[in-house]
């Protein structure tokens, strides 16, 4: 049976440089993941803080035997952000495209499409493959069944399923951290840095619901798609994407690896995950073709 690989997706949150360095160094040394995405995808204003540390993080990851992928911004707007994307697209490493803005600069060279790019069907997937897409991580709202349908029509593309983390649900031109603190985006004071997993948003009846992260809105709950490896292979899934959080990500990666290796069943793995200090409860509705907020029940 084909082996399903693990990918550590791009970090969505604004972590201080020192925290970034420590986190990725440990990933490099200990996490059983084949690929690691680096780079800022949510807010271009954060880039001056993290840009200086990525080179040493990349070096350490590659020394640790990880393939690094350079992720690009999901909602570029300014000239500086567009220039940053164009520069990253010239890199010899694999690049992740999260907005069509990057496509002209990367067309003809291999790239990954991230969940911010709207790949909903096989026609779109094949079109992107002709431009260089080698791997596609479809939007989070698509079920395993649907991703399998696309994958079966596109054998040349490796499909990656978003399998762990708060779900990236929306982007806006407006920064909600700034709005909450009575500020504007253009003078935001980087209040998003206070919330390393995003800031929880509850309903007026205290139901746990969403989380804000600058211009991004995520689910409050943590998506955990845990399937038997044979099920994943049958649906053409070649990689699972784990989205970084301020928790023991090495343990998260080990847990998914053990399920993929058949040494732990999904039910036990779910219990193990629920014992970690995660920012929310486990959900997996999207993977099963239901509302994304449905509690995790996969086995």
């Amino acid at each position: 049976m084909e082996r399903v690989a693990l990918t550590l997706g791009p970090l969505f949150f604004h972590w201080p440089a020192e925290k970034l360095r420590n986190f990725y160094f440990r990933i490099a040394d200990e996490a059983p993941v084949e690929r690691v995405h680096v780079g800022e995808v949510v807010c271009g204003k954060r880039m001056p803080f993290s840009d200086p540390v990525w080179p040493e993080i990349i070096e350490r990851l590659e020394r640790g035997g990880k393939e690094t992928v350079l992720s690009t911004l999901a909602a570029p707007a300014t000239a500086r952000e567009r220039k940053a994307i164009a520069e990253l697209c010239t890199d010899e490493r694999l690049v992740e495209i999260n907005d069509i803005t990057a496509l002209p600069a990367r067309s003809g060279k291999p790239f990954v499409t991230g969940p911010f790019l709207n790949v909903y069907n096989e026609t779109t997937a094949r079109f992107l493959a002709r431009h260089g897409a080698t791997d596609i991580c479809p939007p989070v709202e698509l079920s395993l069944e649907t991703v399998g349908t696309i994958a079966s029509a596109c054998p040349q593309i490796e499909f990656e399923l978003f399998a762990f983390g708060r779900l990236p649900l929306a982007l806006s031109g407006r920064c909600y951290h700034a709005r909450l603190h009575g500020l504007h985006k253009d003078s935001c004071q980087f209040t998003c840095e206070r919330d390393p997993d995003g800031l929880a948003v509850d309903t007026l009846d205290d139901q746990s619901f969403l989380a804000i992260n600058g211009v991004q809105t995520l689910s409050a709950e943590v998506h955990a798609a845990l399937f038997e490896p044979a099920t994943l292979v049958r649906h053409g899934i070649r990689r699972l994407r784990l989205s970084p959080h301020d928790c023991d990500m090495v343990e998260v990666a080990r847990t998914y690896r053990s399920v993929l290796d058949g040494t732990q069943d999904p039910r036990t793995a779910r219990f193990v995950l629920s014992c970690l200090e995660l920012p929310g409860r486990l959900v997996d509705g999207y993977a099963r073709g239901e509302a994304g907020s449905r509690p995790a029940v996969t086995a």
């Binding site: 707007a77 496509l103 002209p104 939007p139 709202e141 649907t146 031109g173 407006r174 948003v201 007026l204």
Partner: protein, 333 residues
């Protein structure tokens, strides 16, 4: 925009009678969709059958107006035929343009119907010269409906960097999230704009009364609460009241609607080709009133009248609630 050319007023037609009303009130173009999940306003009681579209096109053309057909959801994996058929039908009906977001639909139009104009839907969220240039080169897209994230200054800069026309929303409902990239509705309620053409689906809405008043809920999630004597609004996800960081309030957006009527002159100076009014869910009385007022306002702007005079023309116009110019002014961010 070509210098000297009049700005085009693009108006909503949720039904054949709204189409006629918009055309008679002075719309340069109307936009509409089929009665299925190929269009992003897939609401009960709205939209057009193929025959109604053909009749609508004949009526509009006889009155000098254009018809733009929105096929702007994302084609379903393994079942893209309904989207292709919708595109074929729109072209066969003589639509002046198809508005699309999905690469599968754009590709089909470009290869099978190269003579039908193609507009890029707001759902494609193309906001940079690179992404707009890509859609223009790959599919011969002639106009882009701008995502509601750009300020009017940024639109001016963008227009100088691209070779296609731009269309900007000027009035009506306001999405605070980048359209086409929002899955909040499927997260809460299982159906979403991209997949099903619906947001905050009505069949998942409940109004539950208790001792404190009424809770407006979507799939069980409380989106807002109202005191016993307060009128309850529709629980649109991003317009609700929530708690975060020890505060409770309209976290994402106040219950406001877009009115950028005061910026018509600025849009013109920014090189915008067309102004779009939102509201395919609206009846013909509303459409007539709004289109008539904007017709006057756009004509006044074309005659060089200033913003104050245009404000006076539009003064009576309101959705009954508060209004905003949205992202067109930078402070909104």
């Amino acid at each position: 925009m070509t210098p000297g050319r009049r700005m085009e007023l693009v108006c909503p037609a949720g039904t054949p009678s709204a189409l006629r009303a918009a055309v008679q009130a002075g719309a340069d173009a109307v936009y509409c969709g089929f009665r299925d999940e190929t269009n992003a306003r897939n609401f009960p009681g709205l939209n057009f059958s193929p025959q109604e579209l053909a009749e609508g096109v004949r009526f509009a053309h006889a009155h000098g107006s254009k018809v733009l057909v929105a096929i702007n959801t994302f084609a379903r994996a393994g079942d893209t035929d309904p989207w292709r058929r919708a595109a074929d039908t729109a072209a066969a009906c003589g639509a002046d343009a198809v508005i699309a977001a999905d690469i599968a639909v754009l590709d089909h139009m470009a290869t099978q119907h190269p003579d039908t104009r193609l507009h890029l839907s707001v759902q494609a969220a193309a906001a940079t010269p690179e992404s707009i240039g890509f859609y223009a080169d790959a599919f011969n897209v002639r106009r882009v409906v701008l995502p509601r994230v750009l300020s009017v200054q940024e639109i001016a800069t963008l227009n100088r960097a691209i070779a296609v026309e731009t269309e900007a929303f000027v009035f009506g409902g306001l999405c605070v999230m980048i359209e086409g990239r929002c899955y909040l509705s499927s997260y809460a309620a299982g159906r979403s704009p991209n997949l099903n053409g619906v947001c905050s689906p009505p069949e998942m809405v409940s109004y539950d009364e208790d001792g404190e008043g009424t809770a407006a809920r979507l799939a069980g999630f409380t989106i807002d609460r109202y005191a016993p004597d307060e009128p309850a609004g529709y629980p649109t996800l991003c317009k609700g009241r929530f708690k975060a960081g020890g505060k409770a309030g309209y976290l994402f957006e106040d219950p406001v609607s877009l009115n950028a009527g005061s910026m018509i002159v600025a849009f013109r100076a920014a090189g915008v080709t067309a102004l779009k009014i939102e509201g395919r869910q609206r009846g013909k009385g509303y459409v007539t009133e709004v289109v008539r007022a904007f017709r006057k306002a756009v004509d006044a702007a074309e005659l060089g009248q200033d913003a104050t005079e245009i404000d006076n023309i539009l003064a009576g116009l309101s959705e009954g609630g508060r209004q905003t110019t949205g992202a067109y002014r930078k402070t909104w961010r």
